[in-house]
Symmetry: C2
């Protein structure tokens, strides 16, 4: 072959190759535009595999270790024990291998109340001639080594005033207003008496406030074995032989009706903050008050003279309960008085919250909060350390993944270890006040796990309706401690369920939130969707008011390990469930909160109002029709939003549409906030969940106003009904409007 | 060549071509990822060329046409004239060629007050024996054909009660508390008297409220030529010969201190809404009150007996003003009484807002609002139609672009034509209440243009500090009516300027917002960044309280065209400026609001508090140091945010970062809202801009509490100072926190 032929062949081949290259590169269209990496990140949804991995790594042995450490010493708010836990939690959250992005403590100077170590509170029987035949015990008996510690605080009623009132003893059942009224109706002299009352039925402070209205000068509170021990009172029937409260056990507690720092309502208790006068504090006992154990209560009550108390007032002390006043003349205390000596003092002390954060990758300005208090009354193994142990396990597993670079949430996660909850949700309330604007505008949800395990029968979840579905989803993915074949959801539905008109089937019963733990300021004041998660009782097995060691010196690691959750698998189950919920809230593209779920509540509230109040309201010229219309508007709007979300899920390319919808979902709960709705109820601004005195399960302001008006039949009271109806319609309309198409008028 | 060689060549070539194609298509990486189209849309910034085009198309002739149409008939709230304008505006905004995306009317049933057509209010002189030597005129003189209309409402004091009080006349200057106190100090008997007072110095209602405290039984209000006419009072010196008020002119007005519907505070006045009792309304005259013209006032005042009034009380009626009580014995009214006969009635009537919307393309759930009221007292050419004409011109130009598919804003624009503003900002307040949640969470800014042209000397802008810069930017791009070589900015700075420590140069003076127009509910109740834009006076040329035809029958198209803005070029200038601002707010990628600008106000307020109150506060143990620290924290946070924004501007690929920052900017103003700060001041919740009685230009709550405490020196009053200091520090801290890095604790 000639050289030129070869050259021609080579050249021709090169040209053909080049033409091919050019056509191939430019001529054949790649039909898809390529999204840059950040776009993929923006549209990343929750990672189911990661959730599975998280749940697998939640370790019951580790939880046991956390709990042992946390409950080693008494850690009442601001004591040495509390301060040591501040350090412990900071060390965990700042740990190089399993810590969070950042952690710090933040302190508030809060108004607290303590008994005087040098001058213990006493309850004494005093005879006419000044003899003292009996004094109630000052401390609880030590029944296990776990309990022993010089820092165990004497049982007392926090915020009860000091004083030494003396008088004839009366038995006033639960200290409700109706209880004192009953005594007065029986012509029992109350003026100048000391009333002994049992826990339950009325708030702690209410017992003293009610009594004082009838001239009672001192209050003794005790826990009846009927209410806490399923009637059992013998020493060998109680802890350490069972979970029941020993006879010397005393429930401590805050005797304040309001929550938050009492001197700085609506403002964080910082150095700069103005404090109201102590005389301006409402909702605390006006008279000295002291709690005692049922052994001592028995000594007093079983000697009471006077008529026998009604059947429903009788308890399990093993004697008939008489009303008094004073002791039977045939008994050892004949004609004696009882004296309540209270030496409580108050002090403004710095209390720490410990805050931890994991920064969100895509939406760092959206917060999912998770919290529990840190302070206890004594060792507090269950209250609150069972919750803190769960929180520390969740942060250990997530912190590890974070430090290993294996995970970062879409939204920021903020953990809070609150201080001084036992004195009235103080740490969480001060935090909520301090960061009001930021939290209000940015928080998607708050998860509270306080006491994580009351008992090991079933999950208990309380929350506002939109959190229901995400808890269901999580509960279906977690196995019960008892059986790997049984999901938490399947187990739960056996214990607590209801038929849902929305789901058109039976679903687990989500409880409603009161103000019993740190979710209260977030729900009632800020209007953030909240939930509280725990494991709890089989109510067929116990009618105890609460687990029997609650707020006593017996709430120890030993108690927890032997009687509440041997093996700590219920703790593990709660950690898995709450952690699963947390991850879904922080990582899902669309916030897993269900606006439509609110409709069912609104509809049920409306129906109850209509069936219970409707005809009377009509006779007063008050129509519920606009409320019905508002509820319908809400339904329509939430259904339309649901449809929009379903359509959007098919389209990853709309990061701002996703944000827009998430804002609607997040801010829905805020639309029910009205700071003018309940001027007399501090912090209560949520029109649906504010406290309610009426037993009718409907809009609380309407229910209470109706109760008042139908009792008084005053026109001014009917006007208040009209006003509260307006408040409700307005809130529902605002909420509907939040869910409607954003750009409409 | 053999066939196989040819075949080989062809095959070889084909293989080479194929190899080339494959390598070219798959082997050579296209190095750039391609942003999909929606990404470009997300990062689209404001279009300067479009703004120029908009400004060019704003037409003074069209504005003149709009104004002529709008002011053709009297259009007091809820009258036929008002309803016709509702239809007119709806027709414009729904127009196929230049309308908006959507427009509708929304009605509220609001509490209004009118004079009785069949029983006109009168002010009479009555002698001892029942003679009536003089009655003030019932209506204003008709001096131009424009004025004549059977629907012209008689001058009256809206919300003044009906009644027929009679008594000796006294002259009480401006009806301030100090004015009545002065009379009392001079031993002038006030009990049972009728007081004549001039407009100015105190609010309309305050004059009657103050007088009643001293036993005054009726109030006559007039406008002194000194205050409105630069002293000129002769017929040939006033309209139609000049812009000055004719002698028969009477300023009408709402005599209510509160704004919003008076029967439904905090709730929209819908069918479902509870209404308070009329007896519960505060802030309206407790005694009959009637306004009159200065011709009639002269007849009364120049006959007054008693000591001569102080120099500062003297006006331009052409006689010495005596204090009374009663008339000089030598005069025609010797010993006569004056009787004020008021027959006002109240009525709940449906008043319409007209709402229009242009939907946002990228962030439809972010609102930029623009509004003005529609109702006038009489023909209202200037108040409010000069503003409505400007609004209609802006919507005409933007609507045209929209319908032509040439433009759509990034954010949604909501236009509001408010009803019943003259009775107390009612339409806007009911709207703000009705959509509280939505507006609070989504509104970036509210632009108010009420009276667009008071006079044609210079731009006047009032607003919260963050709106300053965007108004400057717009003002630099608009030419003055007088000269194409002079920008509105350059002209403005000549009339009103200050040295800015932040800008480190002299800048135009942005005024502060009170509660004089419809921005009030948006600013004070919702905490939305607001501004009010107009053209105004050369204060070297007039000291008139306001343009002289204000709220009189002389505020006609003829008056506007002859004396306020011949050629309507000042209207055009305002339309260009306000429209420019509107487009920047709706289309800019980063919201053009300056958080750092707030620092200068905070710093100045702090410095004033420190220099004015500092040493006294220190002596009371009150430290301003935490306030200083909060202001510093705000400065640091706003500087850091500015830096973040500057960095972000270089990076188009972060739509969620842009949104996050815009949320911080938008919600900054909200952080100053505290619904608990001023419980006694309805709607006033903005800690920086609430009404202030003290003349010290600093935080209003602090200034007023200080004034009270330093006067009384009561410890409770000093506690109120402490409380208001806490409120201020808390607000500034919250605001700073809103600007700080989102994911921090």
């Amino acid at each position: 072959m000639s050289w030129w032929k070869i050259l021609l062949g080579v050249l021709g081949g090169a040209v053909l190759l080049a033409v091919g290259l050019l056509i191939g590169h430019f001529g054949i269209t790649k039909t898809k535009t390529i999204n840059p990496e950040w776009v993929e990140e923006l549209s990343q949804d929750v990672d189911e595999a990661f959730i599975k991995e998280f749940m697998k790594e939640v370790d019951n042995k580790k939880i046991e270790e956390h709990l042992k450490e946390l409950s080693k010493k008494p850690h009442m708010a601001t004591t040495t024990g509390d301060e040591e836990l501040v350090k412990l939690i900071l060390a965990r959250w700042n740990h190089a291998e399993y810590g969070l992005d950042d952690a710090k403590q933040e302190r508030y100077n809060v108004y607290l109340s303590f008994p005087d170590k040098n001058k213990p509170n006493t309850v004494k029987v005093l005879t006419d001639n000044g003899q003292n035949p009996f004094t109630c015990r000052l401390t609880e008996a030590n029944v296990t080594p776990d309990q022993e510690d010089p820092e165990v605080v004497q049982p007392y009623a926090a915020y009860a005033p000091s004083g030494n009132p003396k008088g004839k003893l009366v038995y006033a059942n639960q200290g409700k207003l109706s209880d004192f009224q009953y005594l007065a109706d029986q012509s029992i002299t109350l003026n100048g008496t000391i009333a002994i009352v049992r826990y339950g039925g009325a708030g702690r402070a209410a017992k003293a406030i009610n009594g004082a209205k009838f001239g009672v000068v001192g209050i003794i509170v005790y826990t009846d074995p009927k209410d806490i021990n399923d009637g059992l009172a013998e020493r060998n029937q109680t802890y350490p032989y069972s979970w029941y409260m020993p006879e010397s056990g005393v429930e401590r507690g805050s005797y304040s009706e309001d929550f938050g720092d009492l001197l700085t309502p609506y403002y964080p208790a910082k150095d700069y903050t103005y404090r109201i006068k102590k005389s301006e504090i409402n909702g605390i006992p006006p008279i000295p008050t002291q709690p005692i154990g049922f052994e001592d209560a028995k000594t007093l009550i079983c000697q009471l003279a006077g008529p026998v108390a009604p059947q429903s007032w009788q308890g399990s002390l093993g004697c008939p309960y008489n009303l008094g006043p004073g002791f039977i003349s045939s008994g050892k205390f004949n004609n004696s008085d009882v004296q309540v000596n209270v030496y409580n003092y108050d002090e403004i002390k710095p209390s720490a919250n410990v805050m931890g954060i994991i920064r969100g990758s895509v939406e760092p300005d959206r917060y999912v909060m998770y919290g529990n208090h840190r302070d206890s009354w004594v060792h507090g193994a269950i209250d609150p350390s069972s919750g803190t142990a769960v929180m520390l396990e969740i942060t250990r597993v997530l912190g590890t993944k974070l430090k290993q670079g294996k995970w970062r949430p879409r939204r920021s996660i903020i953990f809070g270890s609150w201080g001084a909850e036992e004195f009235g949700l103080i740490g969480s309330t001060e935090f909520a006040e301090d960061y009001y604007s930021k939290l209000r505008d940015r928080t998607a949800a708050y998860i509270n796990v306080d006491i994580s395990v009351f008992a090991n029968a079933t999950l208990r979840a309380q929350g506002t309706p939109p959190v229901q579905d995400v808890i269901f989803t999580a509960a279906k993915q977690v196995q019960t401690p008892a059986s790997s074949a049984l999901s938490v959801y399947e187990n739960w539905i056996r214990y607590a369920n209801r038929f849902s008109t929305l789901y058109q089937k039976t679903i687990p019963q989500l409880g409603t939130l009161g103000a019993g733990s740190d979710y209260a300021p977030f729900l009632h004041y800020l209007g953030i969707s909240c939930m509280d998660i725990s494991y709890t009782y089989d109510r067929n097995k116990t009618s105890a008011r609460i687990y029997p060691a609650y707020h006593t010196a017996f709430d120890t690691f030993d108690y927890a390990a032997k009687f509440i959750d041997p093996g700590f698998t219920s703790h593990q189950t709660v950690a898995r469930t709450a952690g699963n919920v947390l991850l879904r809230l922080s990582d899902s593209l669309i916030l897993p909160l269900g606006p439509l779920d609110y409709w069912e509540t609104l509809d049920s509230y409306y129906n109850t109002a209509e069936s219970t109040f409707g005809s009377t309201l009509t006779s007063k010229g008050i129509s519920l029709a606009p409320l019905k219309a508002a509820v319908e508007q809400f339904k329509k709007a939430s259904e339309a939003l649901k449809k929009t979300i379903d359509e959007l899920k098919a389209d990853n390319e709309r990061p701002l549409s996703v944000r827009m919808i998430n804002d609607q979902i997040m801010l829905l709960e805020r639309a029910f906030i009205n700071h003018y709705a309940f001027p007399e109820k501090r912090y209560y601004s949520h029109v649906l969940w504010a406290s309610r005195s009426s037993s009718v399960v409907t809009f609380p302001g309407l229910a209470d106003a109706y109760a008042r008006a139908s009792a008084s039949n005053l026109e001014d009271d009917w006007d208040l009904v009209r006003k509260h109806l307006t408040i409700v319609i307005y809130a529902v309309t605002n909420a509907a409007s939040t869910l409607e198409t954003a750009a409409s008028i």
